[in-house]
Symmetry: C2
Subunit: 172 residues, 2 copies
């Protein structure tokens, strides 16, 4: 698996979008998927990027055989901890099924870590589905700790409707 890992470029959007859809299928939540290629492109490669992405590009000779240019990707954002300062939040780590078992997930994680160290970050945080044991094993093998066990963090979300209701000004 002689892939080249590099920062994503604007022209990569359609292929990243395809892999995001594959990941949503794997996570069994394709019905939650609202993102479009157009929005992904605007948010990732506009004047103020909202995320950062690394792609695993196949060697030229493998691209036509595989029918796709990339074997996987990692999507992450700059984040902040009020205990330790700059951090990265890993949103997605994905390797297409036929390219698994060659250490590509580990290589992508290492690349994200290098980006983090270069940016002066002190740690990387992420949320992972409890049944996704291959991902959890990978993260543990690279030194990750489960904060839901100890000290006991839970993940909460304000969905779009709650967000919009909250944003309404109270009557004076």
């Amino acid at each position: 698996m002689d892939c080249t890992l590099r920062p994503a470029e604007a022209g990569d959007s359609p292929h990243i979008m395809r892999m995001i859809r594959e990941l949503a299928e794997y996570e069994k939540i394709p019905h939650f998927m609202k993102l479009t290629e157009e929005v992904l492109h605007r948010d990732g490669f506009g004047e103020t990027p909202w995320f950062r992405c690394v792609v695993a590009e196949l060697p030229e000779k493998s691209k036509s055989e595989a029918g796709v240019p990339f074997a996987g990707y990692a999507l992450f954002v700059n984040s902040y901890s009020s205990w330790t300062g700059r951090t990265l939040h890993l949103e997605d780590l994905y390797v297409s099924p036929k390219f698994r078992g060659h250490g590509l997930g580990r290589r992508l994680m290492k690349k994200v870590a290098q980006e983090g160290v270069r940016s002066g970050c002190s740690h990387i945080h992420l949320s992972v589905l409890k049944w996704n044991t291959p991902a959890i094993s990978l993260y543990h093998s690279l030194g990750a700790e489960n904060l839901t066990e100890e000290p006991g963090y839970q993940v909460m979300i304000f969905p779009e409707e709650a967000l919009r209701n909250m944003a309404i000004e109270d009557p004076q």
Copy 2:
């Protein structure tokens, strides 16, 4: 509680740092605290801010009595979901003990929500300690859902040592 909610400014750093320390005491993790006022100031108010912050400023007449200018703050970052696009991540929501019980946490959340809607965000996510029931009740009352219950997300972190080890290049 006639506080004014406004975006934090560079001169607010010492007071935000004080409230961050108070929050770390409340969360029983003051030993994890490595952030300094200098770093907070650089990261929040430099050329490329790493976080956004809203402060609840006391009325002038209350400042000298209270000995502090702010009753609380919310610290948040731009983040991204590969399902829905732009989001906010809420890192901290804090109201000093003597100013609690006047709906200030709710007002701060509403202000963060307004910032989110203005930025084109689709939701707000956060992590909260399981025993912090006042915060969880507030979030639930404003429409938040617990993703650790369903679909079952857990929070993981690569601490600094793991991050630095990962970032080392494998021998070729």
